[in-house]
């Protein structure tokens, strides 16, 4: 479904990604972790072309992301993305947040978009809040709306960039529960997260990045059992202490 081949990216002389290679098969859940500044966000943003890259190739569902002839907007409309800071549109009601791209990008009718939005809002347990504005919801609720907004587009895969790291601890689980359910239903997912409980529960593979390199790309059991690199061992020891 997603194939990343020798991707490199630099800002001026600063190398952010170096020869990153990995694959995500249909229905797989991949967790990406690593220290701050290691390039996790950059890598995941390269997948839907939000960040350009200078070398290598990425294909999503057989479509090349780096090819200038690719209709990136169309590709992005099929790849869901969830951000650390939710990025709901604060000037629109929850209903409008859910329907705007369905109408303007997919060309669905207002009624169809609304109905779909309500269905997904119900799925993340927030149907009662349909007419509120994002500012009136808690962080956890906003992130669940953001997931519903992405799902409204019927994505072929989902990208998550630290979806719980801006949340108060008591709200993390309500978001993880939605993500676990999604994974169990067979959604293809690439998640940047340090929630190792989530990784243990649903991940097929764990990728560990450091300084722009993919240092480990292993099955969940191998990764948690005995990480190959010293850096990953230290990293795991540190975050599992918490």
């Amino acid at each position: 479904m997603i194939s990343i081949d020798n991707v490199s990216k630099h800002y001026g002389s600063f190398q952010v990604l170096t020869d990153c290679t990995t694959q995500v098969k249909k229905g797989e859940v991949i967790v990406v972790c690593g220290p701050s500044g290691s390039g996790k966000s950059t890598l995941i943003k390269c997948v839907n072309g939000l960040e350009p890259f200078q070398a290598g190739a990425i294909t999503v569902d057989g479509i090349s992301v780096g090819d200038p002839k690719t209709n990136l907007s169309k590709l992005r409309s099929r790849v869901g993305m969830v951000f650390q800071h939710f990025e709901l549109f604060p000037h629109m009601s929850i209903t409008d947040n859910l329907s705007i791209a369905q109408e303007k990008v997919l060309g669905r009718s207002k009624d169809e978009a609304r109905a779909k939005g309500l269905k997904l809002l119900e799925r993340v347990g927030l149907k009662a809040h349909a007419e509120k504005f994002p500012g009136q919801l808690s962080g956890g609720q906003q992130q669940r709306v953001a997931i519903a907004r992405a799902l409204c587009m019927d994505p072929i895969c989902m990208l998550f960039d630290e979806p719980t790291s801006a949340l108060d601890p008591e709200m993390i689980n309500e978001v993880l529960d939605v993500m676990v359910e999604l994974a169990q239903e067979g959604m293809t997912m690439m998640c940047v997260t340090h929630e190792m409980g989530f990784a243990r529960k649903v991940a097929n593979r764990v990728i560990f990045m450091d300084k722009g390199l993919i240092v480990e790309d292993d099955s969940k059991d191998a990764f948690f059992g005995a990480p190959r690199s010293e850096r990953a061992r230290q990293f795991l020891a540190k975050i599992l202490q918490h």
Binding site: S77, H85, E87, I100, V105, L106
Partner: protein, 229 residues
Amino acid sequence: MYDFDWSSIPGALPFLWDGMKISLEITVTAVIFGIVWGTLLAMLRLSPVKPLAWFAAGYVNLFRSIPLVMVLLWFFLIVPQLLRSFFNLDPNTDVRLTSAMIGFALFESAYYSEIIRAGIQSVPKGQVAAASALGMSYSQAMRLVVLPQAFRNMVPLLLTQAIVLFQDTSLVYMSALADFFGAAYKVGDRDGRLVELLLFAGVVYFLICFAASQLVRRYQKKLNAHVAH
């Protein structure tokens, strides 16, 4: 002691009111045109296409570096001729009002574009990323996500600029156009009561602008409360 005599004002009120209508007409067209053209300029200036950005930057800097009086003077000298020859108008058609409107609109759009550019930049980058991630094109992201938020934040500044503009419209008196200030001046001159008429005009300008800025402040408070929410 100077003997005030206000008796010429009541009879002149209809004429003054006509002047006020001209002042308001110029203000409103310049605000509307200024915001539309200013938004375009702001978007050009933020565009990755360098020549477009340069054009917008040049336009804005040019108009912001020339005194308004001079811009208007040029417009009163040149634009009437242009309009006449361009639209084949009768030489006696009065195009001073149109010239004034065009002059103010072009001048003000430079200021509006700076306000709008700051407004666009005040919207977090993540909003564009989220809109793009949903498959929106750049122009859809601008139109549906960025500009509505930018304008909501900018309304107080845009209105404050409109108040300044309303005061500046008094400069058209130099083309002998009877805006509110010009009308007051004419009446005062005719009746030899310039001091009274100019005092009266000053009080009216003050009341309108003061009331308008109070409204802007009220709106600003409401906006802040909403954002803090």
